[in-house]
Structure formats: structure tokens, C-alpha cells
């Protein structure tokens, strides 16, 4: 009986259930502590977590790094924001616009000055935004994924910089101010993403259920034939190819999938915040996502989600003050030094042994010289697994 409970807790559905339990618990805690405004940052953290979850798949399973994922987040956000605020009322005579209106892809709304404007329905905009991100990811991915390691990092960094510069220079996209007045995103049963303080609790749940769905889909994928092939690519690329794995195709699809998830996060957060700025595409944002995945543990979806939720929330609440970027940079360095497998795979004894081994020039372990620390580390890994 107990064995069965443990198995369930370790299965993907068990973990999703546990995850949703934590989500409910956190909401109850904010209610008890009378801090409902925390939910706003927690909701935002959920949408950023979509980026890191996808990136965890790309980095941990396919072994590819991307320093351009903030750009995909921004592409999703800007496309949704632009399409739902653009005014096509003056081009009603065009047959395509008329058709769009008839199909309810375009809907009339009241603009800032009380006049009538014709814009894309948030759902239509959402589909177009994700399609755009998919197309861009594919176009960028085909040439860029031929590169490896540092070169891939540099190329994706270059892509991110280009997107940031374009957004900053586009008057139509609000240049440095970004887009505002983005309408809420209507869901089933009167729920909506965005819409101000009244829907704070509902928004919180919607956001984290979206994350739960993403986690379900990703953990299914990780435990499938594709996930196995991705880990094989990570382990030994040429051997994977010799076993019939189409390495280039799997890398590209993983890249595109993670970009699409980032775009979903960007689109929904833009509706939630009623706007988006070019800072979302900034390089430091991309570095931050990579840092979160590194802390959470390469290839550990759950570790990444936990780290992402906590660090993003603290950052959004301003706990790190002006040192915000420095905290993420510092955390990245510490993780790489002491626990490259991520924080959740580190236990206290292993950490102490690792730190001792680095700080003292002499063998730190009282046991056999040399062998002690390594053995300790090895054992701790076994335990964590």
C-alpha cells in the first residue's frame, strides 16, 4: 500500500497533483497572511516559468544552449499586443478585413479616445503570435543549430540582440515605451487573463494551470521515445545518429517547441499586464532564464520550475533591489562551481565535501587522500537519485 503511494507520488501524474496542491497552498497562505498582492507577482512568475520549462528541455535533454529565449517571449508578447490593439477600422473596405470581421477574427472595441476600433480577437492574435514564433524559431534554428557549445550560445545571443534592437527602434511597436492598453484574454466560463485586481485569484490559478499543462506535456515527452533520443543525443551525438536518431531534426524540433512555449508565456503575460516593453527581449533576461535552468538542474523539469517560481517571484517583488542582475549572475557562478547538476541534486554533505575540496590545497577528507572527496560526491549523487 505504502509502496503504491510512493510510486504514485513519483509518477508524472502524481507530481502534477502535488504541484497543483502546492499552488493551492500558496494561494491559501497569501489569503491567511493577508497579502493578496503577492498573487500578481506569482502570476507573472508562472508565465516566465513557461520559458524556463521549455529551456530546461532544450538545455537539459537536447544539450543545446540558447541565449535568445527572451526574444521568443517578446515575439509572442509583442505579436499578441500589437494585433489586439492595432486599428483596422479604416481599412474595412478591404475584402480580407471584411472577411476577418465576418469570421469574428477581428472584433470592434472602444479605443482610448472613445472611438470605435477594429482589432484582432485575442485568440486569433494568440494563434498568429505562436505561429510567428514557430516560424522565426524554425528560420533561426536551421542554420544556428549546426553550431555547438559557445558558438551556439553566441549565435543565439546575436539573434536576441537583433530582436531587442528592432523592438527598440520600431515606432509602431512603441519603441522604448512598448505597447499598452492590451485587452484581457477571454477564456471559457467568464475567466480571463488580465483585467485588473478583481480577477487576481482567478488569474493566479489560470496561470499555474497553464504551467501544469505545459509540465504534463513536457514530462510526457521526456519519458517518451523522443525524450530518450534527446538524452542519447546529449550523451553521444554520433552514436545516437548511428542508432537511427535524426539528430538535426530532433534538435530543431526541441528548439522550436521551447520557443513556442516562451511565446505562449510572452503572449499571456502581455494580456495579464495589459502591455509589454522592449526590456522583455533584453539579453539579461535571456541570461536570467539560463541561470534559472542551471540552478534548477539541467534536465530536471521540476527543479527548474521550483527555482523559476521562487527566484522570479523574489526578483519581481524587488527583494534583490538594485543587485537584481548581479544576484542571477552570482547564482549562476556558484551553481557552476559547486553543483553543475543543479541545486535539487545537491545534498549538504556533498556540498561541504565539494567546497572543502576546492578551498583547501591539501586533501580535505580525513580518509584516503584524494579519493575521499570524489567518493563522497559520487555517493551523494547516488542518494539524490
Amino acid at each position: 500500500m505504502r509502496g503504491r503511494t510512493v510510486t504514485f507520488a513519483r509518477s508524472r501524474y502524481g507530481r502534477i497533483a502535488l504541484f497543483l496542491g502546492v499552488v493551492v497552498l500558496v494561494q491559501l497562505l497569501t489569503a491567511v497572511a493577508d497579502k493578496p498582492f503577492f498573487l500578481t507577482q506569482l502570476t507573472m512568475a508562472a508565465y516566465y516559468t513557461l520559458v524556463t520549462a521549455g529551456l530546461s528541455l532544450l538545455m537539459g535533454y537536447a544539450g543545446q544552449i540558447s541565449l535568445g529565449h527572451a526574444a521568443f517571449f517578446a515575439i509572442g508578447g509583442y505579436a499578441s499586443g500589437y494585433l489586439t490593439t492595432v486599428d483596422l477600422a479604416s481599412s474595412r473596405s478591404a475584402s480580407l478585413v471584411a472577411l476577418g470581421e465576418r469570421l469574428h477574427l477581428l472584433v470592434p472595441r472602444v479605443d482610448l479616445y472613445g472611438g470605435e476600433a477594429l482589432s484582432f480577437h485575442p485568440w486569433a492574435a494568440f494563434v498568429l503570435a505562436i505561429a510567428l514564433a514557430l516560424a522565426v524559431a524554425w528560420l533561426v534554428g536551421v542554420p544556428v543549430l549546426k553550431l555547438k557549445g559557445h558558438y551556439l550560445a553566441m549565435a543565439t545571443l546575436g539573434f536576441g540582440t537583433i530582436v531587442y534592437s528592432v523592438l527598440l527602434a520600431s515606432q509602431r511597436l512603441g519603441a522604448a515605451d512598448g505597447l499598452g492598453s492590451v485587452p484581457p484574454f477571454p477564456l471559457l466560463g467568464g475567466l480571463a487573463v488580465g483585467g485588473g485586481r478583481a480577477g487576481r485569484v482567478a488569474n493566479y490559478y489560470v496561470a499555474w494551470v497553464v504551467v501544469a499543462l505545459a509540465l504534463l506535456v513536457l514530462s510526457n515527452l521526456v519519458q517518451s521515445r523522443v525524450g530518450r533520443a534527446l538524452r542519447a543525443i546529449h550523451g553521444a551525438e554520433d552514436a545516437a545518429a548511428s542508432m537511427g536518431v535524426d539528430v538535426a531534426r530532433y534538435k530543431l524540433r526541441t528548439f522550436v517547441l521551447s520557443a513556442a512555449l516562451a511565446a505562449v508565456g510572452g503572449s499571456l503575460l502581455t494580456h495579464f499586464n495589459a502591455g509589454i516593453g522592449p526590456g522583455e527581449a533584453g539579453v539579461m533576461k535571456s541570461v536570467r532564464y539560463v541561470a534559472i535552468v542551471a540552478v534548477g538542474g539541467m534536465g530536471s523539469l521540476w527543479g527548474t520550475v521550483a527555482t523559476s517560481a521562487v527566484l522570479t517571484f523574489l526578483s519581481l517583488r524587488g527583494y534583490f533591489g538594485t543587485l537584481d542582475d548581479a544576484v542571477f549572475g552570482g547564482v549562476l557562478i556558484l551553481v557552476m562551481l559547486f553543483s553543475p547538476d543543479g541545486v535539487l541534486r545537491l545534498d549538504a554533505r556533498g556540498a561541504v565535501a565539494a567546497i572543502r575540496a576546492r578551498l583547501t590545497p591539501l586533501p580535505a577528507s580525513p580518509r584516503e587522500p584524494g579519493g575521499g572527496a570524489a567518493e563522497e560526491k559520487h555517493r551523494s549523487k547516488g542518494v539524490a537519485r
Binding site: S224, R225, A229, R231, G235, A239, A240, A241, S242, M243
Partner: protein, 254 residues
């Protein structure tokens, strides 16, 4: 028609002519060995056949169809499987998971099926696991299924790698120095295993240094020296070939 036919294959690395105009055939259901002194071009030839390297000239025909320019994953899908001289098991995966990757070309579930975890996907996974366990049991490594692959002993890793190649149910199996690093008992087991692989109807092309093993398991032996083929006959005939003796033992032996 031969299962594998290699015609006029050449490969240069800068000034080094690693493989020079090599032709040979491997008949269906046989075991063929490629031997030669170090640096004779055996592994290069293997990499040309399995698509890891593109040839400068010549063709490779599998069942009479050219494999020219095909990437190695597609060659694998066409029924050619291989092991590596330096063992290439996937780290941080169990022995069973490693062998399950071998079933990749015999299974289908893609990204969408994987994400949705449909009943058909689930059934296919069960089937993949069953095939992988069979392959592990066949090489006598059934009890290693749940062990971390890279934590196994050298001989065990060789066995798992062989199971991984067999799990693809290949028509042609390429073994690159499978006895390297094995002790005498393990080598004798390997010889028996190659015999059983052959009984299953799998054709084997093997590169090997261990002459005892080569003479025991092969139907035909091709000898390479400085990238060129100098002999291609039965093991007995090759052993008596004066050119082969000269290459292996030096001019004085003649």
C-alpha cells in the same frame, strides 16, 4: 546479389591516403572480417560504410542500393547497425534505456505522440522495452538492465553496446574491434555470441586485431595495408598468403 558491396572506396585526410580504392563484398548470412596492422584504414573504412564519413570516391551498396551521401541515421534505418571501437554508451541512462535507443528505427512515436502520451504510444513503449530486454538477455546481460550504463565494467559495457546494435534488428551488423579490452574468457564468449548472431540470420562485418577470434568466427577475411586491400579469401588461405605474412611479420619472415 551481395548484401553489402563496396566499390572503389577512397578517403584522404590531407596528405594521408587512409583508404585507397578498396572493393569487397559481404554475402548475406556470413561473417566477414577486416584485418590489418594499426593505421591500415580499417576504422576509416567502417566510418565510410556507416555514413559517419563521406567518401572521396567510390560507392557503398546495401542490397544493391547505393548509400552515397546518406546521413548515418538514415543508413541505420535501412538496416545497418554498428558498435564503436571506443565504447559510446549514453551517459546518465540505464543499460536498458541505452538498448531502447537501439529500437529507435523500429518505432515511430514522434513529438506530438510523445507529448500527448496516447494509448498507442504507451503500447509502442511497452513493445520497445520488451525488444530491448530481449536483446540484453541475448547477449547475456539481462540482469544489468537497471544499472547505470557507464558504471558497468568494460566487458559489460561492450555487451550492452552490442545489445543496443542488435535491438535495431539489423540485417548487417558492423563490429569495430569488439574484443578490444576483453579478457580471454570474455573473448571466447564473444566468439560464441557472434556465432549465435549469425544463426539469427544477421550478416556481420567485423574489424578485429585478435587473430584467434577472427580465424574462429569468420567465413571470409579481407586484409588491408596502408589503405589498400592486399588479400580477400577464406581465413585459411589468408593465413598462408605470403603478402599478408610479409605485412604482419616483416620482410625477414619470408
Amino acid at each position: 546479389m551481395s548484401l553489402l558491396e563496396v566499390r572503389g572506396l577512397s578517403k584522404r585526410f590531407g596528405g594521408l591516403h587512409a583508404v585507397r580504392d578498396v572493393s569487397f563484398r559481404v554475402e548475406r548470412g556470413t561473417v566477414k572480417a577486416l584485418i590489418g596492422p594499426n593505421g591500415a584504414g580499417k576504422t576509416t573504412l567502417f566510418n565510410l560504410v556507416s555514413g559517419v564519413l563521406p567518401p572521396d570516391a567510390g560507392t557503398v551498396l546495401l542490397r544493391g542500393e547505393p548509400l552515397d551521401g546518406e546521413p548515418s541515421h538514415r543508413i541505420a534505418a535501412r538496416g545497418l547497425s554498428r558498435t564503436f571501437q571506443q565504447i559510446r554508451l549514453f551517459a546518465q541512462m540505464t543499460a536498458l534505456e541505452n538498448v531502447m535507443v537501439g529500437v529507435h528505427p523500429r518505432s515511430r512515436a514522434g513529438f506530438v505522440a510523445g507529448m500527448l502520451h496516447l494509448p498507442s504510444t504507451w503500447r509502442e513503449e511497452k513493445d520497445v522495452e520488451r525488444r530491448a530486454r530481449e536483446a540484453l538477455a541475448f547477449v547475456g546481460a539481462g540482469e544489468l538492465a537497471d544499472a547505470d550504463a557507464t558504471s558497468l565494467s568494460y566487458g559489460q559495457q561492450r555487451a550492452v553496446e552490442l545489445a543496443r546494435a542488435l535491438a535495431a534488428e539489423p540485417e548487417l551488423l558492423l563490429l569495430d574491434e569488439p574484443a578490444a579490452g576483453l579478457n580471454m574468457r570474455e573473448t571466447a564468449e564473444l566468439a560464441r555470441l557472434i556465432g549465435r548472431i549469425r544463426e539469427r540470420g544477421v550478416t556481420v562485418l567485423i574489424v578485429e586485431h585478435d587473430m584467434g577470434l577472427v580465424m574462429k568466427v569468420s567465413d571470409e577475411v579481407a586484409v588491408l595495408s596502408y589503405g589498400q586491400k592486399i588479400a580477400d579469401a577464406t581465413p585459411r588461405a589468408v593465413q598462408r598468403d605470403p603478402e599478408v605474412i610479409r605485412v604482419y611479420l616483416g620482410d625477414d619472415a619470408c
